[in-house]
């Protein structure tokens, strides 16, 4: 096991930030820690990294207890923090070299690692630039390079794509998957469910410091009753027609808002066909019709009663 956190309890005064958190990251996994802002993701990471004190629980990394003095463990960990943490007085290359040098003493080996990190994040043409001259996306890439240049076995990324444009976000996500393919185990936190769905092999959903669900994305979606969401653009609908909709098999809910008829159903083989038949029977004119499988947001919504981004 790469990371094992057991029953972690962390309080900030009266606020319970982590409520008996259990977390395990296996070798070669990308584990996603998904939750809204303030759910305890960053606190969990800082506890795992022995930066924060906690009231209760045990944390081990690579099978050994984690502590601030566990230098033999720290040398194989790379951390990419939520906020860009680089020195404005150093160039791109110097920043990467500085942080890489905290892990790798051999200058020749370090030069090679730094160059590889520069290539990896695509900052080759900016390596003599100072951070103030970089765009937000390039800064984030530099932030990633500073965290991973020493080629750690475990990479912890805390919302590395916050406030990034789609292209930069895509670059970073591709990079993380590439690092994973090269053998790194990854703990990835985000409040963007699409990112977590895309790159993580397993997901833990956090809310108010508690694990509310965990498993693969498929397993998480299996946990909820919602199987399919079908949206139909309708011109108008009277009460009788709406009443007829409520007789559909597997139906969970039906709602009409701004000419959008939303029908949520349990898993079933003929949900879409049943709706089409009913629309014809009731002589309801319709435009577009589309079906969606449940998302992690639906999982979060069903378990907590609120949207993931609330």
């Amino acid at each position: 096991m790469i990371i094992k956190a057991t029953n972690i309890v962390k309080r900030y005064g009266e606020l319970l930030a982590l409520d008996h958190l259990n977390l395990e990251l296996g070798e070669g996994e990308i584990l996603g820690l998904l939750g809204p802002n303030g759910s305890g993701k960053t606190t969990a990471i800082n506890c795992i990294l022995a930066l924060l004190t906690y009231e209760k629980g045990e944390i081990s990394i690579f099978g050994k207890p984690m502590s601030p003095e566990a230098y033999d463990l720290k040398k194989d960990i790379g951390v990419v923090m939520q906020n860009v943490a680089v020195f404005n007085e150093l160039t791109v290359l110097e920043n990467i070299d500085y942080f890489c040098g905290l892990y790798v003493k051999d200058a020749q080996k370090r030069n090679q690692l730094v160059q590889e990190a520069v290539d990896f994040v695509g900052l080759n043409e900016f390596k003599k630039f100072y951070p103030k001259k970089l765009s937000g996306g390039l800064l984030r890439r530099l932030n990633v390079a500073c965290g991973i240049a020493h080629k750690p076995k475990l990479i912890i990324l805390d919302e590395p794509t916050v406030a990034l444009d789609p292209q930069s976000r895509n670059n970073i996500l591709e990079g993380i998957m590439e690092l994973n393919r090269k053998g790194a185990s990854v703990l990835y936190t985000s409040h963007y469910m699409e990112e977590v769905e895309r790159i993580c092999s397993r997901i833990i959903i956090l809310d108010k410091g508690r694990v509310i669900a965990s498993g693969t994305k498929e397993a998480l979606k299996e946990m909820i009753t919602l199987g399919e969401k079908i949206t139909v653009e309708v011109n108008a609908l009277n009460d009788a027609q709406l009443g007829a909709m409520k007789g559909l098999p597997n139906l969970l809910s039906v709602s009409l808002s701004d000419s959008q008829l939303v029908i949520k159903s349990r898993k079933g083989k003929n949900n879409l066909e049943n709706i089409l038949v009913l629309l014809k029977e009731q002589n309801i004119g319709f435009g577009k019709i589309y079906s969606e499988l449940p998302t992690l947001n639906d999982v979060f919504l069903e378990i907590t009663g609120k949207e993931l981004r609330d």
Binding site: L51, L52, T53, D72, V84, E89, F99, G101, Y103
Partner: protein, 375 residues
């Protein structure tokens, strides 16, 4: 590892424009202004004889003889113009003389502006009138003593014995420069602050990143503070060189000890900055505010704005003088300049060493913590 962190901390500190301004350019600017304000220019100013018109009415030959004797030689007090009243007024309005002395029953001084030369002229005629009046009174009341008057006047009797403690001339304007140098040492606190910010995970993102790395906290601190010491001490040596070689400030002959004192002052400034940063909770702005306030207040109380305040504080509020680190620094420099013995200097060095040890000890007590309750 030490070398790696040291090298980069050195670059980071050297490229920090704000610190560079406060710890080098600002003191140079202030020292230059002080130098101009004290009229030092770039060398010690020499006294210039005062252009003076004396209107001779023929009543007082002794006075004319006196001003003539004071207007002769290289170190003369006056450039004398013996003339009529009309010509004297013309010279005054043309700016060719600083004042007109008119003799008569009561001596009169005419000037068209106030200044140091005019004050000297006024003091001169007041002293003359006072002495002449005393001589006349003695001659009238005790004629037998009149014969002794020239000898008595020639002898400048004093009942106090002057025992110099130094070969150096007392120069109170030096206190301004010593306190300015001390203030610059205290501004080194900004570098101490930067070093603590760079290793305390709850103070900056960069420091959090440092704490994730497999490096001992004390090693990080010692590497960083060594870089800060090199940068700040170098800047202080440059500033000292500017004071001595460009502004011609005389710091005495004990150059080696001055540099040694400067090194200790640098340590004190850095440790004070580190102490404030590690101990005070809150934003950097608050910590900078405390550093700046303590430094400027300390420099003020040590005589940077008015030299006399140093002695007022030491007399009226000794505890305040005692806890003022800038005062210990200023004292160290002044004692090296003025006293021939080392007692006062050693006392100042001990004071600085104790303060440095206290600040550094308290800083270590706080930063040795490696886990935080919150970030």
């Amino acid at each position: 590892m030490f070398k790696h962190i040291f090298k980069y901390r050195l670059k980071i500190l050297l490229y920090d424009k704000s610190t560079m301004f406060w710890t080098l350019l600002f003191p140079i600017l202030l020292a230059t202004l002080f130098s101009l304000a004290f009229g030092r220019g770039f060398a010690q100013e020499t006294f210039q004889a005062i252009d003076t018109a004396v209107v001779d009415s023929g009543d007082d030959a002794a006075f004319i003889s006196l001003v003539k004797s004071l207007s002769a030689g290289e170190e003369r007090l006056f450039n004398l113009h013996l003339t009529t009243k009309e010509e004297a007024l013309a010279l005054l309005s043309a700016g060719k003389v600083q004042g007109i002395i008119e003799m008569g029953e009561e001596m009169a001084l005419t000037v068209n502006q106030s200044g140091i030369e005019q004050s000297i002229l006024k003091t001169f005629i007041d002293n003359y009138a006072q002495t002449a009046s005393a001589v006349n009174r003695i001659a009238a009341q005790k004629p037998e003593a009149a014969a002794m008057l020239p000898a008595l006047l020639a002898k400048d009797s004093t009942f106090l014995e002057e025992r110099p403690v130094s070969r150096a001339e007392p120069d109170f304007t030096l206190i301004y420069f010593f306190s300015l140098l001390s203030m610059t040492c205290m501004f080194g606190g900004y570098l101490g602050m930067a070093e603590i910010n760079a290793i305390q995970a709850n103070l900056s993102g960069q420091a959090a990143r440092m704490n994730f790395a497999p490096v001992h906290k004390l090693k990080m601190f010692l590497s960083g503070i060594s870089a800060a010491l090199v940068v700040q001490f170098t800047k202080l040596l440059l500033f000292l060189a500017y004071l001595v070689f460009v502004l011609s400030i005389d710091f005495g002959e004990r150059t080696g000890l001055i540099v040694a004192a400067l090194f200790l002052c640098t340590l004190l400034g850095l440790s004070f900055g580190a102490f404030v940063t590690s101990l005070v909770k809150g934003e950097n702005g608050l910590k900078e505010g405390i550093l700046t306030t303590v430094t400027l207040a300390g420099a003020f109380l040590s005589g940077m704005n008015y030299a006399g305040i140093k002695f007022i504080i030491e007399t009226a509020a000794p505890p305040l003088a005692f806890i003022n680190p800038v005062r210990w620094m200023t004292d160290a420099f002044y004692s090296l300049y003025y006293f021939d013995t080392y007692g006062r200097f050693i006392e100042s060095v001990m004071g600085m060493a104790i303060f440095t040890a206290l600040f550094a000890g308290a800083t270590y007590f706080v930063i040795r913590r490696r886990k935080y309750a919150s970030l």
